[in-house]
């Protein structure tokens, strides 16, 4: 198709068969409608015959570039890129699903990554009570028994030595300052209750209202409605596990401030009881 100038009526086209310039534009009748063909100034194309062409100004040596197809393909290209971009944006936006969990964790404002800051976190088992550098702890030696982390709500402090073992298994542990009002504790419960690979418990003398822990990660927030609590869980629960195949089932469900002794554990997990 073509667009002819309004000032000039359409003429039958000329089908050129050689490299010769069309000496008499519009002189020969053709079968196709089209614009008038080239002028004296136009350099003929070689080989196959050029189609109808209308006269152009003599200065336009070379016939000029035909911008039609270029414009068309550019527009199609821009639209295609736009469609792909629109579809991919939810995944590829910062913190989107296409990022690794580490990238999503790093995007959380205020999170501390102890894995990257040189903190040495050993993972050996030990029945003895431990002293941890961080409060609440985010890793280190821990009891052979883990704290059950199937979305458990513990209404009293839990032993750090069991909680750290849960972190090793991929738990995101929500610790809250033990003097929070009941209404705020309820808000926190709704984020944890029944959500596997999470658990929550009060901690005495915490330096923020809420502290989120995963193995090697910590985030302290002072508002129970802070959206980063859920973001932390989504990025780090299960993902931060040192043992991706391990679970949160079974384990200790008792509260307390000292870990189960080997004898206590023997009684609790001693086989056919």
């Amino acid at each position: 198709m073509s667009i002819s100038t309004p000032s000039e009526p359409k003429n039958p086209s000329v089908v050129k068969v050689s490299g010769k310039p069309a000496a008499k534009p519009g002189a020969k009748p053709g079968t196709k409608t089209g614009t008038k063909t080239g002028t004296k100034a136009q350099v003929p194309t070689k080989g196959k015959g050029g189609g109808p062409r209308k006269p152009v100004t003599p200065v336009k040596v070379g016939g000029g570039r035909n911008w039609g197809p270029i414009a068309l393909f550019t527009i199609v290209g821009v639209i295609a890129v736009g469609i792909i971009g629109y579809a991919a944006w939810p995944s590829f936006k910062p913190g989107g699903t296409a990022y690794s969990w580490q990238d999503r964790a790093a995007a959380i404002d205020g999170i501390v990554n102890f894995r990257d800051n040189g903190t040495k976190l050993v993972a050996e088992h030990d029945w003895a009570p431990q002293k941890y550098e961080q409060n609440p702890p985010i890793g280190g030696k821990h009891s052979p028994v883990w704290q059950q982390c199937m979305g458990n709500i513990y209404d009293a402090p839990i032993p750090n030595e069991h909680a750290v073992h849960s972190l090793e298994h991929g738990a995101a542990w929500l610790a809250y300052r033990s003097d929070l009002p009941a209404s705020e504790v309820e808000t926190l419960k709704s984020k944890i209750n029944g959500k596997q690979f999470t658990m929550m418990s009060p901690v005495e003398g915490l330096d923020s209202k809420v502290s989120m822990q995963a193995w090697g990660y910590q985030l302290k927030v002072n508002d129970v409605n802070d959206g980063r609590i859920a973001t932390f869980i989504e990025a780090l629960a299960k993902n931060a596990s040192l043992e991706p195949e391990a679970g949160c089932t079974t384990g200790n469900t008792a509260t307390g401030t000292t870990p189960l002794t080997e004898q206590q554990a023997q009684q609790r997990f001693g086989g056919q009881g």
Binding site: M1, K48, G64, I84, P90, S91, A98, A235
Partner: protein, 213 residues
Amino acid sequence: MTTPEPRRFTLFSTTGLSITMVLGLVLGLVLTLVVGLSSGILGLRGSTPGDTSAEAGFARDMSLHHAQAVAMGMIAYDRGTTVTVRTIGGDIAVTQQGQIGIMSQWLRDWGLNINSSAQPMAWMPDGQGALEDGLMPGMATPDEMAALENARGPEVDRLFIKMMIKHHLGGIHMVDGVLKQSGDEDVLWLANSMKAGQQKEIRDLQAAEKSIP
């Protein structure tokens, strides 16, 4: 005849074919290639299930559903009074933990987060209606789990059998949900295997129920 006229754009004039058309075609081809390759490399929708697909929802939710069955099975294996209950408890725990591993690997292969902020069962058309107290079909409440954990003697066997039959029935309902929606070969394979296995185990559990002291 020689009056200079403003040149107008023409689309696909045959004169322009040799240069502009070829340029355009090449541009189009390159563009197609780039889009196709990047989609493949980046794993955009098409080849593997996406973040909100039924397959991803099934893999996530069924993993959580399974984890509770593992907990029940471990208790039965540990404290069941009959050898039938102890063996089937261990069998279910090991089987379902293995299946959790397969489903977790799918999500890794598909480049998806193992977690999602979606509601449980959001991937099933009638999923929200199937929730019981916010729990997926067949799931035990925290109180029921506590009762099983604290039970001793034949009560362990009785509670385990009752809870696991209900758990399996709910699980089969979810399996049917993904069987209806998915065309993914691996997903269909595991889902069908789960369904057959759990249907058989329900019959075994019903038989075992009769032999509890």
